[in-house]
Symmetry: C2
Subunit: 358 residues, 2 copies
C-alpha cells in the first residue's frame, strides 16, 4: 500500500429472512434470530437500520379508518397542498416530527390485516426500546445503534430517499464547526446529518418492494455506548421547524395565508387548491377572485370572465383593498395582473403568466 | 442459513492516498493509481464517487474574484435569502443545476492557490469524461459508474448531506411505479433517488475534513454498461425545478415577490432582508413600511413608530392599496396587523407576532 492511511470500509448488509411482522411480535428477537441465522450476529459498533413500517406493524400502529382520516389525525401543520383529481395531497409536519407527505401514513405493504399504518408518535423512544431489547438478546456490551427509517420526497430533488425517523445509540450529527479544514481554515457551517446518510445508505440494500426491512451497517464510528439520556443526538434533533426553517410553507401557501387562507383550512378547500398538473387560466382566475374577496370588505364584488376579472365596490377604499388583494392573489396562481381603472368604483384586471426564469 | 435469500452486502470504501489535486491533474490516473496501490483495482459493477471539490480543482474551476462575485455569476435564480451580519446568505438555483446555498461556490479546503472553487457547469458531462478516462486506464469492460457529489442543506432537516451533482454510467432513479408491493397493491409513487443515496452513503467514509475525496461503492446493481446517450438517468434528472417544484421560493420571498420585490433583486436589498437570527419588532415593521410603499401609489406615505405604522394617502383608493399592502407585507415578517381607521385618508396599523403552530 503506497499510503500510510488504510482504506476504511463500511459494509451495508441486507438482513435476509425477516418474516412478515404482525402486531405484538418482538422485533428484537426477530431481528436477532435473522441475523444469527445469516451468520451476522451483532457485534460492537454495529448499527441496525429498520424500516418504520415493521416498527409500526410490531407496535400495532394500524388504523382501520379511511386514509384521509388517519392523515388528518397525524398532521400537526400543513406546509403545502395540491389537488390531485378528487384527492388533496398535503406535505405536513407530522405528529411523528418530520415534515413529509401524508404525515407518514402508509397504505402499501401493510400486510393482510388491512387498514393503514401510522408512525410512532415518539420514534426515538421506539428506537431506544428496540436498542435496549437488541442489547439484551444479543448480549453486546459495547457501542450499538438503532435507526428507524422512513421515506420522503424532497424539495428541489426528484425521487425519494430514506431518512432517520428515530434513532438510539447513534450520534446523528457530525459537527465540524469547531474544526478546521485541511488548509487550516475554520469549517464554519459543516454539520453532517450522519444518521440521514446512514438511513439513505441502508435503503440501497433494503429495497422498497423486496420485503427486506432491516439492514446492518458495520464499520462506522457513530454507534455509542448506550441509550443514554434523550438529547440532541436523537433523530428528533434532525427535524428543523420553527424560526430556523426558511421553508415553513410553500410559496403558494404563503401568499394564500397572507391573504387569510392558510393551507389545510376549510377556507382553502372552499376557495380551491391549485392542481398538481398544469391548469388553464380560467379556473386559476376564479380562485384569484375567491381569494381576493375572502376577507375583503363586504361591498367588494367580483366577476371573472375569460382571463379577466371585474371588481366593483361601493367605496374607493374598498376598491383599493379588493384590487390589491386580487393582484397579490394572482401571484399564488403564477399570474400577473394588469389593472385598468374603469371608474372610481370599478376596475378591470387582466392576467398573464409569470415567467421569471427556470 | 435459514433463508433461501442471501445477504446482500454493499461495501463503501474510502480510497486512501489521493494526493492534493491541482489544476490540470488527470483525475482518472490519480484515482486509478490510488485504487491500485490500495489493492482496490476497479472491477465490473463498481461505482466511483468523487467530491466535486477535486473535480473542480482538476478542471481549473478556480476563480480569483470575491466570493460574492463568484456566487452571483453561478446563480440562475434566488430561492431564499437571509441577512447574516453584513453578509447575505442565499439559497439559489445554481448554474450547475441544483438548488443549493451559495450556488455551490466553495472556499474551504481549496488548496494553496487560493480563490474560490466553482462547480462544473455540466456536472454530468464532467462525470462522463471521468468515466471514459477511468474505463480506459482501468481496462474494465463491464458496468462502471461515476458519481460526482456535492453537499447541501435541506429544508426541514438539520445538517447537510451529500447528493449526486453529476453522474455517468449509473441508473440514478429506481422506478417502482410499474411494480406492485409485497401484498400485490400497485406502488404508485415510489421512485427512489438511488444516486443521491449512493452519494450520501459514500460521504460516510469520505469525510469532509479528512482529505479523502474519493470513495468506491462495490456491490450495487446500478452501474450500467457504458456512458451511453445523455438521458434522464443523468444526475440532471434529479433536479426538480419548474412546475413540479412546490417550493420554488421560500414563503417570505413569495410574499415579497407578490408585492413586487423578488429575492435577489436590488430592491430586496434596499428594503432590507430578514435576518437569520431573531429580530425585534421595530426593524421588521420598518421593512413592512418599505415593502408596503414599494410600488404603492406615490401619494401613500407611511411613518413607523414602535410596533406600529401610520399610513396616509391623498385618495381613499390609495389608502386601501397601502393598507392592504402593509397587511400582507406584515406576513413576510411573521407579523399580523390590526388596522384602525383614523380618518378617510389615514389609518394606524399595530402589529403582533404570528403564532400558528410549531
Amino acid at each position: 500500500m503506497s499510503s500510510g492511511q488504510s482504506p476504511t470500509t463500511v459494509e451495508i448488509i441486507a438482513v435476509p429472512g425477516i418474516p412478515e411482522i404482525t402486531d405484538g411480535v418482538d422485533l428484537a428477537w426477530v431481528i436477532h434470530d435473522a441475523l444469527t441465522a445469516a451468520g451476522l450476529a451483532l457485534r460492537s459498533g454495529d448499527i441496525v437500520v429498520v424500516a418504520s413500517k415493521v416498527v409500526s406493524k410490531a407496535a400495532g400502529l394500524r388504523r382501520h379508518v379511511p386514509r384521509d382520516v388517519a392523515i388528518a389525525a397525524e398532521t400537526v401543520r400543513v406546509v403545502a397542498e395540491r389537488a390531485a383529481g378528487d384527492r388533496i395531497t398535503r406535505v405536513v409536519q407530522s405528529a411523528a416530527g418530520p415534515v413529509m407527505a401524508a404525515a407518514g401514513v402508509d397504505e402499501s405493504n401493510i400486510g393482510a390485516d388491512g387498514g393503514v399504518l401510522v408512525l410512532p408518535r415518539d420514534p426515538d423512544a421506539a428506537a431506544a426500546a428496540l436498542l435496549t431489547s437488541l442489547r439484551r438478546v444479543s448480549a453486546v456490551d459495547g457501542p450499538l445503534g438503532v435507526i428507524i427509517t422512513d421515506t420522503a420526497g424532497r424539495p428541489w430533488r426528484a425521487g425519494v430517499v430514506d431518512f432517520a425517523l428515530g434513532s438510539a445509540g447513534v450520534q446523528v450529527l457530525d459537527d465540524h464547526r469547531q474544526g478546521v479544514d485541511a488548509d487550516g481554515r475554520p469549517l464554519s457551517v459543516t454539520v453532517i446529518a450522519v444518521a440521514d446518510e446512514i438511513a439513505a445508505a441502508a435503503d440501497l440494500v433494503k429495497g422498497k418492494a423486496a420485503a427486506r426491512p432491516v439492514a446492518l451497517v458495520r464499520g462506522l464510528p457513530w454507534a455509542r455506548g448506550g441509550v443514554g439520556p434523550r438529547d440532541a443526538a436523537d433523530a428528533a434533533g434532525l427535524v428543523r421547524t420553527g424560526p430556523t426553517d426558511w421553508f415553513r410553507t410553500g410559496p403558494v401557501e404563503a401568499i394564500r395565508a397572507a391573504l387569510g387562507v392558510p393551507p389545510g383550512s376549510p377556507q382553502s378547500t372552499d376557495i380551491g387548491i391549485p392542481s398538481v398538473t398544469a391548469e388553464p387560466v380560467a379556473p386559476r382566475v376564479e380562485r384569484v377572485r375567491r381569494l381576493a374577496l375572502h376577507g375583503a370588505p363586504a361591498d367588494v364584488t367580483g366577476t371573472a370572465h375569460e382571463a379577466g376579472l371585474t371588481l366593483r365596490a361601493s367605496t374607493a377604499y374598498s376598491l383599493g383593498v379588493g384590487v390589491t388583494r386580487a393582484e397579490i392573489a394572482a401571484a399564488a396562481e403564477r399570474l400577473t395582473a394588469r389593472v385598468e381603472h374603469t371608474g372610481d368604483l370599478s376596475a378591470d384586471l387582466s392576467f398573464s403568466e409569470i415567467h421569471d426564469g427556470r
